[in-house]
């Protein structure tokens, strides 16, 4: 199970858009509920989430610099193609590491 966390300012609207995008992309690649879980968080509490991957925008990525997880930034939060090319390599790497 790879844990992802979509982060935005308040953790309401745009974070949820990214979450839906990630879920659609991963499902398209054939991954299911046993392979991943996506949570939404606001920038102030996101550090406590401890996921494997944070997905956020460049402006918030700076605040997440010193976390253990991978931090991936996307520009167009609603563009599934961009989310796809941004997350898939990292996701597949962590996913196969965890399987071992």
């Amino acid at each position: 199970m790879v844990k992802l966390c979509a982060v935005c300012g308040m953790g309401l609207g745009s974070g949820l858009l990214v979450k839906m995008g990630i879920e659609r992309v991963l499902e398209k690649h054939g991954y299911g509920r046993k392979d991943f879980r996506v949570e939404v968080a606001d920038i102030s509490t996101a550090r406590s989430m401890m996921p494997d991957i944070f997905v956020t925008t460049t402006e918030f990525a700076k605040s997440l610099r010193e976390v253990k997880a991978e931090v991936i930034t996307v520009k167009n939060l609603f563009d599934e193609n961009e989310i796809d090319s941004a997350i898939m390599d990292v996701f597949e790497k962590i996913h196969s590491e965890k399987k071992k």
Binding site: G11, L12, G13, S14, L16, L17, V40, D42, E59, S63
Partner: protein, 428 residues
């Protein structure tokens, strides 16, 4: 009869109604059994968390309200935070708001299907806010005599209408900002976003963009809405404490009142974090279901999305708009203070709204007028939403004494709120 009464008690609970919404959505999307059960329970849980956050926030601003009203003699001072206001209204109009929340979604889909406005509103928290605003405003209109059915129907129609039509207003500028027309703005500050985009062309040049500006790095903390909100509350608490004098401040906040002020300010921000967690948990179940259903019914739909989707296109413009919005808001607050009640409530600065609404106005202003456009857009935005929130605030007055201390912020809520309160006064 016992069963009917039981059912009525069950269904008159707002959190259970929201759970049913999630249940219907998850079933419609043919989710597996386990996900349907956990999703439904999580949305109920989220709604209960939202209610719990309200009492934390109210507890933290009550001493401030007391000092304002009783010591400084400035009644109707309020911090506009939609989340807070919505959760407070839950206590008195929970079921009605929950039903309007549901019907607003449905009406949005119907309108998008049958009219030329193909916008599907995916900003769930703003759907909840507009449902709360319309229900609350209609509830205090004497003409409706608190007739529940009529109010729910009209509030749902109004909310659904706003969700379908307002995004169209943003479209000309969204094309400029994002370079395409795949999505619209779905955030209720659209009147000032469009204004900022329109006026930008007269004051500046998009070539003179905000994105060539440099900002010091310490300003980064301002981009964390909760931290900024807590810090500003602290400043407000200190100023009010000093103006009230040691004795009055100590009575409201404890013997060492600066300590009390410090803790209350951060409790306020903490309470908002609780409400956010609740809203987030509810939306994570309902919005994807709504989106799935909408995509089936309105195949050529255009999504209307939350405002930060435009932030990455001009991050500096967000900061310029945010800071100028604070200036505009402070000016409006001074005007409200000088008006001594003639302009309604006195609206204290809410960093959350300045950041999101002011920042977005900055992006819109920048798209047509560069840095000058961003400054003007943010400034007007802060000025206008603060003035409108002030006049709407007093219209709610008689409904629930607990409502004091918070108000709606975003411009479109102010615009609609004032229109409703104007009509309400005409129809008395």
């Amino acid at each position: 009869m016992a069963i009917l009464n039981f059912l009525q008690a069950f269904l008159s609970n707002a959190s259970i109604l929201v759970g049913l919404m999630a249940l219907i959505g998850l079933l419609a999307l043919k989710k597996p059994f386990e996900e349907v059960v956990t999703g439904t329970l999580k949305s109920i849980l989220g709604f209960l968390v939202l209610n719990a956050g309200a009492s934390v926030v109210v507890g933290a601003i009550t001493p401030l309200g007391n000092l304002f009203t009783n010591v400084l003699k400035i009644p109707n001072a309020a911090v506009p935070v939609n989340e807070v206001f919505t959760s407070i209204v839950q206590e008195s109009l929970g079921r009605q708001v929950a039903l309007v929340f549901l019907f607003a979604f449905i009406f949005n889909i119907i309108l998008a299907r049958i009219t030329k406005f193909k916008y599907i509103w995916l900003t769930g928290h703003h759907t909840l806010f507009i449902a709360t605003l319309t229900t609350g405003m209609l509830w205090v209109m004497p003409i409706f005599n608190q007739n529940e059915t009529v109010i729910i129907i009209i509030a749902s129609l109004l909310s659904g209408f706003m969700m379908t039509v307002m995004p169209a207003l943003s479209m000309p500028f969204m094309k400029k900002i994002t370079g395409g027309d795949t999505f619209a703005m779905g955030h209720f500050g659209i009147t000032t976003y469009a204004l900022a985009g329109y006026l930008g062309q007269f004051v500046g040049d998009p070539e003179d963009s905000t994105e060539t500006m440099e900002f010091p790095s310490w300003i980064g903390f301002m981009k964390e809405p909760l931290v900024a909100m807590g810090s500003v509350m602290l400043i407000i608490y200190f100023i009010v404490g000093l103006l009230s004098g040691n004795a009055a401040a100590a009575e409201a906040l404890g013997q060492y009142w600066p300590v009390g002020a410090f803790l209350q300010s951060l409790t306020f921000a903490g309470g908002i974090a609780i409400i956010l967690l609740g809203v987030r948990t509810v939306l994570a179940e309902i919005v994807p279901a709504f989106r799935g259903i909408a995509e089936k019914i309105v195949p050529n739909a255009k999504p209307a999305l939350d405002c930060p989707v435009v932030f990455p296109y001009a991050p500096n413009a967000v900061l310029v708009g945010y800071l100028s919005s604070i200036v505009g808001g402070l000016l409006a607050m001074v005007i409200q203070l000088l008006a001594k009640g003639a302009l309604g409530g006195v609206i204290l600065p809410s960093m959350i709204i300045h950041f999101f609404v002011g920042g977005t106005a900055g992006v819109f202003g920048n798209s047509t007028g560069g840095r000058k456009g961003a400054m003007l857009g943010g400034f007007l935005c802060g000025l206008i939403f603060t003035l409108l929130a002030g006049t709407t605030y007093t219209s709610f007055g008689g409904l629930n004494p607990d409502w004091t201390g918070s108000s709606f912020g975003d411009t479109d809520f102010g615009v609609l709120g004032n229109i409703l309160s104007f009509v309400g006064n005409l129809l008395k």
